[in-house]
Symmetry: C2
Subunit: 128 residues, 2 copies
Amino acid sequence: MNYSRQREIILNTLKEYVVHPTAESLYSKIKEKDPKISLATLYRNLNQLADNGIIKKIDGLEDSAHYDHNTGEHYHFICKKCKRVFDVKPDVAPDLIRKTEDSTGFLIENHDVVFSGVCKDCRESVSN
Amino acid sequence: MNYSRQREIILNTLKEYVVHPTAESLYSKIKEKDPKISLATLYRNLNQLADNGIIKKIDGLEDSAHYDHNTGEHYHFICKKCKRVFDVKPDVAPDLIRKTEDSTGFLIENHDVVFSGVCKDCRESVSN
DNA sequence: TATAAAATAAGAATTACTATCAGTTATGGT
DNA sequence: ACCATAACTGATAGTAATTCTTATTTTATA
């Protein structure tokens, strides 16, 4: 991977998020910094960064993928009301990989745990 | 939900699978029984059956959704070589929901656990 | 600094799925 | 059995997210 100004902007912008944006929502933030950047460039780079293990692509949430700059072991939760994606600590499922490899005989290369429901903020806000 | 011949064919055909097909692959099997059935009818019914808890839609696997007639608690594994989707028993992550609700304060309505890697058959077959 | 490899912008194309709609079928009351 | 109406169907157009194509520009290396 060679250096590119666009890729640097993309990665830095992603790192500003604590929740995990879709490509579209990241795109609007990126365009504030470089209005000329192309949507195809964003997708190309997100895929490249994910392929190289620098970021993580989160599938299975809604219609579109979300992107996460934290590549350490953890899971995700999407709130059905506010649509934000939160992290869940991996200790809710200890030894998940080893247990699953042992019980299935499969070689596990990747895994994802995705929860959906209502986040704390939305539960506490009075209006339904 | 009223009765429909098409829906019965769709559900019965899905039940013939031990692995979990995409809409497209289910469609080719269904057309052997009823060549006139429309792809829109298939998607419409799969969604209806899933909304009514009769089947389960599995997202987050590849580009397209897979469908599972087993609605009991269990997880999934997709083989990167043969692309088949297998079941994983839920006891690899005991008390997952309760633990996650306790540690996050979120209300969890749904969850999915998806593994990918190489299945037993593909590991054992000599050719890479 | 020449050159080859990698990256870009812009827009067309693709994929998986959903919406629309006119015609058909199922169901419940009479 | 007959009818009203609600649910369902096939065909096809439409959509959203993402990928592909191509001509041009950047970056890394000799």
